[in-house]
Amino acid sequence: MNNAWITVLRRDLLLALRRRSDVATTLFFFLIVSSLFPLGIGPEPAVLSSIAPGVLWVAALLAGMLSLTRLFATDYVDGSLEQMILSPQPLAFLVTAKILAHWIVCGLPVVLLAPVIGLQYALPNDALLVLVLALLLGTPALSLIGAIGAALTLGVRGSGLLIALLVLPLYIPVLIFGAGAVAASQHGMSAQAHLSLLAACSLLSIVLAPMATAAALRISVE
């Protein structure tokens, strides 16, 4: 792989390792939000398992969103973003390394934690498996689409709220297919169609989001 691309990926992972509290915040947010529902709604397994797909996906969306503001903001403030733009490598290409780092740090832990949380919602085993698969296929799209929002709101005051307004509507297809996959398997149907559509969402975002993000970043540094 390309040297500069690996450098960006390694730098972001190293930074995440040095500031573990940032990563922990995202994870604990997911953990707490998804644990509040069973406490609030009561221990009725039938009710819990029917709301589980939606609740878990919404919690995953919001947890990913929390960390989006930091995706480019520190690079923007300390000038690393300028240096990235002036690198001889295409910006859209380098941006994919940053997005991958974001997914590894914020998306992957949620995927791994989800089956444990799913137990609280009395999800059957095959639905748990589909939940993990759906999150694995869908969360990359969340990071990719989120990056566009993060780039567009760079240097804007109150950017956290603005990102939510920009990005959450774009997350709707991922939410529908993701929750739909889990619900389908709960009702004994095949989740394959939903999973395929989720994968399609991620593939489409891989093609389009880095370019849109790069364009937005160039405008932001002006």
Binding site: T7, L14, G79, E82, Q83, L86, P88, L94, V221, E222
Partner: protein, 217 residues
């Protein structure tokens, strides 16, 4: 320095024509143009707020001018021009350093990002050249303003780019570091490099050809 020998052989020039910069509804400068060739230096002069930094950002391709064109090696520079970026080293107001990484890690990563071939040893040597070798394993967060600036400027000892664009490189530096930097710039000029610099300090850099670009209206 051994890795500089190649530069003098490359003949390239930077041509700027009719650059105009408008920020908000204020015209910072109009119709700025120049030619910069091998071994020559441009000082960009002007009061605070006269648009020096904006001009340097335009020249580096970070900012798109209201009107005017830039040519590198006879070819029009487009936004995100990778060919131009591989010949350019820009150090702006911001140091581009990560607070949580050490000086050595920062320099190694920013050099790799710019496509330079570096090792841990060459990075350490570069830091030593500008007198921050002892800080190489400290996180940048604990360094002083001047030390941070020096870590950023250490890239000048790693680069093979012929064109340097430096925004206030001498700000926050002590007298010794200024001398070290001037020596490095002289060496770059002798090797046939090009530089565009803004500064408020009186420094003498020996270039084959020096131009003053004044931005006061």
């Amino acid at each position: 320095m051994q890795h500089l020998s190649g530069i003098a052989l490359i003949y390239k020039k930077l041509l700027a024509q009719g650059l105009t910069c408008i920020r908000g509804d204020r015209v910072l400068f109009r119709n700025v143009g120049f030619t910069l060739e091998n071994g020559s230096l441009i000082y960009v002069l002007g009061e605070n707020g006269s648009g020096k930094s904006s001009l340097l950002r335009i020249l580096s391709g970070l900012l798109i001018p209201e009107s005017g064109e830039l040519f590198w090696d006879g070819k029009l520079i487009k936004p995100g021009d990778e060919n131009y970026h591989s010949d350019l080293l820009y150090i702006g107001h911001l140091n581009g350093l990560k607070d949580d990484l050490t000086a050595a890690e920062n320099l190694l990563m920013s050099a790799r990002l710019s496509g330079y071939k570096v090792t841990a040893q060459t990075v350490l040597n570069a830091l030593r050249e500008i007198g921050v070798g002892r800080c190489s394993n400290l996180p940048v967060r604990v360094l002083s303003q001047g030390q941070k600036r020096r870590v950023a400027l250490a890239r000048l000892w790693l680069t093979e780019s012929p064109l340097w664009i430096l925004d206030e490189p001498f700000a926050a530096l002590d007298a010794t570091s200024v001398d070290v930097l001037v020596t490095r710039l002289n060496q770059h000029m002798v090797n046939g490099g090009m530089a565009i610099i803004t500064t408020h300090q009186d420094v003498v850099i020996n270039a084959q050809f020096t131009q003053n670009l004044r931005l006061d209206s």
